[in-house]
Symmetry: D2
Subunit: 423 residues, 4 copies
Amino acid sequence: VDEARARLRDTFVAVRSRTLALIEPLEVEDLVVQSMPDASPARWHLAHTTWFFESFVLFPFAPGFSPFDPAFGLLFNSYYHALGERWRRPDRGLLSRPTVRRVLEYRRATDERVEALIADARDEDWPRLAERITLGLEHEEQHQELLLMDVKHLLGLNPLGPAYRPECTRPPRAAPPVQLAPLRWIEGPVGAVQIGAAGEAFAFDNEGPRHTTWLQPYALAHRLVSVGEYLAFVEDGGYRRPELWLSDGWATVEREGWEAPLYWRREQGRWSVFSLDGWGPLDATEPVAHVSYFEADAYARWAEARLPTEAEWEALAAGAPVRGNLLESGALHPRPASAEAGGLAQLFGDVWEHTRSAYSPYPGYRPPPGALGEYNGKFMSGQQVLRGGSALTPAAHVRASYRNFFHPHQRWAMQGLRLARDA
Amino acid sequence: VDEARARLRDTFVAVRSRTLALIEPLEVEDLVVQSMPDASPARWHLAHTTWFFESFVLFPFAPGFSPFDPAFGLLFNSYYHALGERWRRPDRGLLSRPTVRRVLEYRRATDERVEALIADARDEDWPRLAERITLGLEHEEQHQELLLMDVKHLLGLNPLGPAYRPECTRPPRAAPPVQLAPLRWIEGPVGAVQIGAAGEAFAFDNEGPRHTTWLQPYALAHRLVSVGEYLAFVEDGGYRRPELWLSDGWATVEREGWEAPLYWRREQGRWSVFSLDGWGPLDATEPVAHVSYFEADAYARWAEARLPTEAEWEALAAGAPVRGNLLESGALHPRPASAEAGGLAQLFGDVWEHTRSAYSPYPGYRPPPGALGEYNGKFMSGQQVLRGGSALTPAAHVRASYRNFFHPHQRWAMQGLRLARDA
Amino acid sequence: VDEARARLRDTFVAVRSRTLALIEPLEVEDLVVQSMPDASPARWHLAHTTWFFESFVLFPFAPGFSPFDPAFGLLFNSYYHALGERWRRPDRGLLSRPTVRRVLEYRRATDERVEALIADARDEDWPRLAERITLGLEHEEQHQELLLMDVKHLLGLNPLGPAYRPECTRPPRAAPPVQLAPLRWIEGPVGAVQIGAAGEAFAFDNEGPRHTTWLQPYALAHRLVSVGEYLAFVEDGGYRRPELWLSDGWATVEREGWEAPLYWRREQGRWSVFSLDGWGPLDATEPVAHVSYFEADAYARWAEARLPTEAEWEALAAGAPVRGNLLESGALHPRPASAEAGGLAQLFGDVWEHTRSAYSPYPGYRPPPGALGEYNGKFMSGQQVLRGGSALTPAAHVRASYRNFFHPHQRWAMQGLRLARDA
Amino acid sequence: VDEARARLRDTFVAVRSRTLALIEPLEVEDLVVQSMPDASPARWHLAHTTWFFESFVLFPFAPGFSPFDPAFGLLFNSYYHALGERWRRPDRGLLSRPTVRRVLEYRRATDERVEALIADARDEDWPRLAERITLGLEHEEQHQELLLMDVKHLLGLNPLGPAYRPECTRPPRAAPPVQLAPLRWIEGPVGAVQIGAAGEAFAFDNEGPRHTTWLQPYALAHRLVSVGEYLAFVEDGGYRRPELWLSDGWATVEREGWEAPLYWRREQGRWSVFSLDGWGPLDATEPVAHVSYFEADAYARWAEARLPTEAEWEALAAGAPVRGNLLESGALHPRPASAEAGGLAQLFGDVWEHTRSAYSPYPGYRPPPGALGEYNGKFMSGQQVLRGGSALTPAAHVRASYRNFFHPHQRWAMQGLRLARDA
């Protein structure tokens, strides 16, 4: 047990520290503003992840616990009805207090208490405590990605075009291949197939139970759709042809005036794209990113293919190692597929891959009891599943069974697509 | 062929006449008003179904065809982008012209031309023509149900509480059973199961292709959830307990101020309900109706059960005869389950049954080419599947493989639910 | 008194009959639809004016009065809070019942009761009763104009372009003058001037008390601004130059996409205009109509002039006879100024003339007690005064002291303008 | 001239420094957030007032001027269409950059250039330059008040209830009088009266031309309406009685759910109020503040009085010295009327006083040419005039002829009221 405690404490320190490292390049001003209702101020992420440890770790396990500030429950509860009133989500940007300084104190004080608890908890509490802390860290990793998504959105709308990090701190980029390999199609298993999380390793409740599903013959493209391929769709009038779109998708195109992916901008006939390094020219060999489900679906129709189901994706990804352009690469942006021969490229990292599967409960799914039952299950309507992680996802956070989900019109996540077809 | 032509002509006359019979109890004023964006004026249904025959039957098949009124294309096209501009759907109620009289002339003239075409079409055109006319009639039947849904909504919001039909014309109602049988659970087939439309009979494109799916052990309740059972949920605070609801569902409850199903009203502590016969007291033994997916899902959670998937439903309904309280019964309202022993009751008719299945394409699904490809496929996002037909559905229109679909917040269709559980 | 009773009864019959005459060219469908929140269905006007007699004449004066239908109070009360709940104004078009037929019965029954009351009322009640009936008739005349405005709006948005009346029933139009006379400027009185209603004749409460105001030297244009003059403003980029507009006006231009007056349409470079006779070419010599306060103000700025104050207008109109192109002419549309020499043309009729005066209480103004106090006083914020009546105003209804009022963005009234300048 | 230059430079330094002093108690976070569309982030005020000097002083007068940052024109232009594109007003809070630090550099650099220009400008430019700088300083003073209004709104909605300044820095408050004097009525001049700015001293364009107006006999209350008096209105159901309200006012009450002035809160039956010193108990003797025109008008009706016209107010204020509880007192909050005998109390300072006068041009008014013509004139619709300054207004900024204006529903300015009546 002691070793387990030491290991968990190290992980705790590492994950919590990375959140702080992520905000290092930012100004106080960047931590406060909410750029749209779907996004949150970075400061809110800092505080909310801390509140999560307070509510689900310290409150139930730390003897004599009292909250750092009783008002923070109202302010930093995201959506757990069972834990009381919440400040309205679209109004998170209306709060100038608590200051960033105070929120950092909140983090520090809470970290100390969690670390003390790791050291001091009774042995009989340890298994459940360890499980909760692990959940808190997985939760923190989700918010690390959200924080970067939200910061990108905030900086991206600013006419000054500020970059997230100074030039000197960016990782050097490998020379891109001269040309992307043409699509190859990789066939997947057929008939009764098992999917879903199993075994000892951490997984969210929505990844299980492991169960049988039935697959018809199919194939997946060996790599992601590239910017160059997507540009051909744009230039072929893709955003002006209703017959390519789902009905709700076309309504969104018209209402929002979409003409290209989020973060693309055309000026005097030349396209540029916003990344966390600022504005730059489009690179045709990179995977396309920041396209909604509606756009991915329309592109697939135009390309005479379709999106994969989540089961098709998982059946092929199941054996593959979790390796790729993830948060640890430091790129913070998708990269061109390498030319390596054989197999599926870019399965993990780069961009979350759209699937045609609505986010629904697996057969036999039951959310856990209590407030944590609100974590995943209550979002199972109106959203689509995405798979595989992105360049903003911590490597330890993703796996073949991982189910991310967004509404079909949302596109501020680093979302892209891989084509599928019936085989 | 001649007999086939005679048979189709008779069906054509019968279906088209029934639409006119449905509006007989109404005043001109009732045919003009649009009570909400989801609904259409009855006059619009009369004209749109006629435009469908003009566009998809007369235009391609009738030599020298010219439209009855060229402006009607703009006004009565519902959503076929491939066929040009359309009048905005939420503004259908802004049009006082063409008058009802003129629309009835439009129907008459178009009917004559279709009937002439049935008689005169070249034999080599006949198979495709017959297929199109059949589609037009299936389409008309869908709008017969929509017309009644929309009229009910219109009359239901009127403070005068007008009934759709005079008392004297209502079918007498059988005495209700003293008490409903308690729920029995009927198990369905397990493992690889085939679902979807197959064979010669008409089916919409979205019902196919027939394909294999995999079912875990499950059971369905032998009858629908009753008003009395749903009332217990209401009285247990069902509409005030966020933990029972999907997240988007709870947001809808709060935004819309829902406290009960649509058409329920509480005054001085007593509930009444609006039907096409006007306002009356709640009958605890009837199936509950006009509940959205969100409400059905919350009820099921409260009842410690769940909604069936569409495959589970179809697997059990596949062999059953299409019999039940459908449009032809004249009840226009769900009826209590009869006490007959054994088997699944109320599978067809009474109310459309909510499923937990999002409306998605079946494996291998491809919409037909051209404007008719817009009929079903483009709605495959954000909606849920319902099965089994209602008391407003023509009997010839429904079958085990039939997939109806609505957004999860909608409830002006005659929707109810049957519980399911893992076996 | 008997003669007074006979006279009032004749007026009552005449005014009430004219309302019915106004709807004669319409279809039932035209009477039911509400084309926008500011407008009401014609049927509503028919019923509301009747409810006014029920509530303010029969209820207080007719012994043993009971309402025709108790539910009509809810449906046809416009805005009198003192008289109970009201059906929401923007939802007047959601009601298909009561039918037009029933509303006409309501009118007939109420007319009979009012006529009986005129005959039978006690002499001591007569003065107050006569005052109330007169108010009811003035109220009815206001709704005659509103009814025509609302019908015009309804027919004007219909892509079929239906005319209000058949060609054969239109009054022949005099040949227009070859050219309009250039603007002449007529100076008004200076210094302390009396305005406001005085004396015996009927006037609304908001026209008094008569009081002194102070005028600086000024002049009014001898005629209204013409379509040709306004077109020059449009073609000079009037709707694209923010510097010509009030701030709220420019926001309206951008939000609504205004490019010309309401009912103007440009197709292939040619302008046409909708009148109650349908669509036709612009006539440059007619007064411009259906311009909001914002547009009138912007035009005046462009023309290096300004709008008159209401006191300036009244001071010059005070002596003039109420004569002009009013409802009785049958034109239902403004007409070119006649070439007659001298004096102010088009003071009454043609179009309501915008003034730069906000609609405020006159010094010493007090609304009457009770529900009738809500008639005028409570609208004294955010609106502008218009003067002089239009081609839709009954001649007996308007006078020099009459104050009409609309919000500065509204333009479905027959509104135009006359320029003013400092002298 | 040299002395004039020195004097203006001193004023320039003093006014600009006071803006910085006002933000001293705030955190960076407080300077960035926009709490509602009507308000602006404090940082925006800092930058916009600086941009004003750049655009209207440096650009036209400083030889070889180039802007500090060319992008700032887009970001910090408030509403001058003549000066190019502007960032949408409701989105001012979406910008995290430029940082506060950078904006303070912008101020510093601009101040240096203006001071240099004061020293170096050619004598022939001096009069016009001095006029422009003076206008820039008056403009800055307006934004000093706006900044405090906006900061109050921001802090006031925060559940943490933060105070603007620490307790220790607040000026001590004189003991309030035991009881307010009952209202006395002071009569004003009657007949032809001159109002409007005249003479050499600075005044905004909208304060002139000086002109004659005509007053009927009237009297003003000798002091402002107090919190205690207003509370009686609230407790008499003032916010639940539509008959007391203007029609648009009542619609606002219902839409916004108003139950009391802005910044009042009732908890467990006790009222508290938010000031720049945080939350505290209501003080019945203070003037009521933060009531909209609609509320002031309803209160006056309830009190059987009315609001003054702006001419009535100015006619009585014309001779009085500009003295009172203004920004320099440091109170930042209205104070009870002192018991001093005779005359009108609280004319200047404490709260802006509502008038029943719509904000309209005076006879003969003409806005100046060019972009500065947009300063005042284009807001002359839909707003009401307020007079007398508030506890947030710099003393040098207000005078008897000063016309402030807000929309009738707005109440985040420090607005109160004084009753008037016909004499």
